[in-house]
């Protein structure tokens, strides 16, 4: 279990992380979400013991994070880069060795992963000869080759095509069964929604929302309705019980004022437009993200 307690990190005049606390359990994917500059990377760096917090603590398996955890932490930073002029296999072996993996085991693991991620043909090539997506695969391999207990992935999907995104997603999900602690930091709410069981939304260093995905969705998503229609639906916006409406050409997402039954909307709309479908939906994480961040700004 990774426990973050009252974490504060101040840089010159700026509180990058302002008193946040959360727990991550084994076998769960924890989504650390937030807009750019929210304090995600700073939090990650403290967890990696790259920088020290101003106050508060991060403990892993009951012990404060120190250099002794180096070999059981895997980290995929957001900005990708490897030794461009080195051979793929050499780079992988170097980082495995830095994690204290014996050479033969590192070789076996490297070949296993190259095969699994469909990159065996690049084994003996120089990194700069690879496409961006393939370079990212190599970097992903480097972050997991030592079978880390704690895996921190910062935007693991950017730069991948949909097929490879799927491949990486499946790989990450397979780690859940092996009881790893996984922290996933991303802007891609759709992905977070599919993968994370817990989320922590951070903005300007402060916690905005946290909890299990279901809890968060329940909290923010009781009165959301999706209508597919034909006709002019612009009147919906001016209905008194509609809190907010996103109206597109043939469908609309509508958020009702608290305590109003979806029925009211149906009654008001049925005479004015042709309704093809009408459903009460959960809000997407994307919508929650945008709403909550906007709210916290106002």
């Amino acid at each position: 279990m990774l426990i973050v307690e009252n974490l504060v990190k101040e840089f010159k005049n700026v509180r990058a992380v302002d008193n946040i606390s959360f727990k991550v359990e084994e076998g769960k994917i924890f989504g650390l979400l937030g807009p750019n500059g929210a304090g995600k990377t700073t939090t990650i760096r403290i967890a990696l013991n790259i920088i020290k917090p101003t106050s508060g603590s991060i403990t892993f398996e009951g012990k404060p994070v120190t250099n002794e955890f180096f070999n059981i932490i895997g980290y995929l930073p957001e900005e990708r880069g490897l030794y461009k002029r080195s051979k793929v296999i050499d780079s992988i072996l170097y980082f495995a060795k830095l994690k204290n993996i014996p050479k033969q085991k590192a070789l076996d693991e490297a070949d296993y992963w190259l095969n699994k991620l469909d990159a065996t043909e690049y084994r003996d090539k120089k990194l700069q000869e690879l496409s961006k997506g393939n370079q990212q695969k190599i970097q992903f391999i480097i972050s997991v080759i030592h079978n880390p207990k704690l895996l921190i992935l910062d935007e693991p999907f950017t730069g991948f095509d949909p097929i490879n995104q799927q491949l990486i997603k499946e790989t990450i999900l397979s780690f859940v069964d092996s009881g790893k602690i996984i922290i996933l930091s991303t802007h891609q709410m759709e992905t977070a929604e599919k993968l994370c069981s817990e989320i922590f939304l951070i903005n300007k260093g402060k916690e905005v929302v946290s909890g299990s995905l279901n809890q968060v969705k329940k909290k923010y998503g009781t009165n959301n309705i999706k209508i597919e229609f034909s006709g002019d639906a612009s009147f919906i916006k001016s209905l008194p019980f509609v809190k907010q409406a996103d109206i597109y050409s043939n469908y609309a997402e509508i958020q009702m004022t608290d305590g109003i039954s979806p029925h009211e909307l149906l009654k008001a709309a049925i005479d004015k437009i042709n309704i093809n479908s009408f459903s009460v939906i959960e809000p997407t994480l994307n919508k929650i993200f945008i709403d909550v961040i906007n709210e916290s700004i106002n």
Binding site: K12, R45, L48, N49, I50, I51, K52, N67, F70, N71, I73, Y75, P77, E78, E79, R80, G81, L82, Y83, R85, S86, D90, Y94, F95, K97, L98, K99, N100, I142, S143
Partner: protein
């Protein structure tokens, strides 16, 4: 410790394999050889034609003697190197008109050049060699010797002294410097060897620091710019990374110098190595390694501040020249190894290694001075590495603009 070696091995092997390294290993000696051998080949060649040299001597007394003196110089097939011709020795002509006539002969190419002797036989004699090309210092030296010999011989004769005394006068006894070691033993080393040994070691140190220092800074800047550093720093400590880099790139620099030394020895023979001075090798190596470590630590500190390669190169170049400062002082120091200046410089960490490399070669250094300077160096290295690793820890994670001195101070106080 294991991770330090992992980093060191990686830095060494990955750089050794690069094309740039292989090219520099071959290219540098090639350039050096080209520039050092070509001029020698060109100037060392003896002329293959006899030169006709004129003589204008209003006194008319030197011709025979100078001709005899120049006879001993020959070129291929025993041909004489010079033929001396009397352009005009008659005193009835005006000196100025003689001169202009002879000048014309030179311009027309009748003679290569001519010796103009004015006021011959008096104390106010002066001699000119007038020619279209006066760059041949070897010729001029020979003419000068010939004239002076003739002049002295005439004077001796006039004073009634046996001209054989001339041989005695011309035999010059030079004083041989003998360096005494602390033990009282004589050392068989001449001044030039001392100079070159010190010079070679200082230059090696300079080159090693330039080479590996720049590689170090460059590799840091690269890792920083693609944020690779974050992965490394989450696998080993900043100190381990730093030490590993210093070791690996230092080994690489030594390797490069070793290869150059091997090339030099195989081309020029072992004679170029001043073996006689090798009894100083131990203290020299100590100062060499101390200097290297100190400078590299300073380079790391700087390397983690800068964000682009250009900046890195500018700064490392300036820094390296500080190291060369004592070289400027090498001649004054050789004249007076006990000068205050060199003593002061040998207690300042930045110049200490060079200054001591010079002093070790010039004379016995009291043990107390050795101990003190080595202590100063060790302490400086400790402080430099501590400061460097602090700056490194924070600097590697800061991107964008270079920090101001004030910010740097804050970095040092932090953590």
């Amino acid at each position: 410790m294991k991770k330090i070696l992992t980093v060191a091995k990686w830095e060494f092997l990955e750089k050794v394999k690069t094309k740039a390294f292989i090219i520099s290993i071959i290219l540098t000696p090639t350039i050096v050889i080209f520039f050092s051998i070509t001029p020698t080949l060109l100037t060392g060649k003896e002329p293959d034609t006899t030169k006709v040299i004129g003589l204008v001597d209003t006194s008319g007394i030197y011709f025979r003697q100078i001709e005899n003196a120049l006879d001993k110089y020959t070129i291929e097939k025993n041909q004489p190197a010079y033929i001396l011709v009397r352009l005009s020795g008659k005193s009835e002509y005006e000196f100025d008109s003689l001169k202009s006539a002879a000048d014309k002969d030179v311009i027309k190419g009748k003679v290569e050049g001519y010796l103009l002797i004015n006021n011959g036989g008096t104390d106010s004699v002066n001699v000119e060699y007038r020619s279209k090309s006066i760059g041949n210092f070897k010729d001029i030296q020979r003419f000068s010797d010939a004239f002076n010999e003739a002049r002295i011989e005439r004077k001796l004769k006039a004073e009634g002294i046996n001209p054989k005394i001339m041989d005695y006068i011309s035999k010059n006894v030079s004083i041989k410097p003998v360096k005494l070691e602390e033990s009282g033993k004589e050392s068989n080393v001449d001044t030039l060897t001392i100079f070159f040994t010190a010079f070679i070691f200082v230059m090696l140190l300079f080159m090693l620091i330039m080479l590996s220092g720049q590689m170090l800074v460059r590799s840091l800047v690269e890792e920083k710019s693609n944020r690779l550093i974050e992965i490394i720093i989450s696998s080993c400590s900043a100190d381990e990374l730093l030490t590993g880099k210093i070791l690996g790139l230092g080994a690489l620099g030594l390797f490069q110098i070793l290869i150059w030394a091997l090339i030099a020895v195989s081309l020029l023979g072992a004679a170029i190595i001043p073996f006689a001075t090798f009894h100083n090798i131990l203290p020299m190596l100590v100062y060499f390694l101390l200097g290297y470590t100190f400078y590299t630590a300073v380079f790391v500190g700087i390397g983690s501040i800068v964000t682009t390669e250009q900046e890195a190169q500018q700064i490392t170049t300036y820094l390296s020249f500080l190291l060369l400062l004592p070289i400027v002082l090498i001649l004054p120091v050789m004249e007076n190894p006990n000068s205050i200046l060199i003593k002061v410089l040998s207690y300042i960490p930045i110049t200490l290694p060079t200054a001591m490399l010079l002093r070790v070669n010039l004379g016995p250094i009291p043990t107390s001075v050795m101990v003190i300077t080595i202590c100063i160096m060790v302490i400086s290295i400790y402080i430099a590495i501590k400061l460097a690793s602090k700056v490194f820890r924070i600097g590697i994670l800061s991107y964008g603009k270079r920090p101001s001195l004030k910010e740097l101070g804050e970095w040092l106080r932090e953590s």
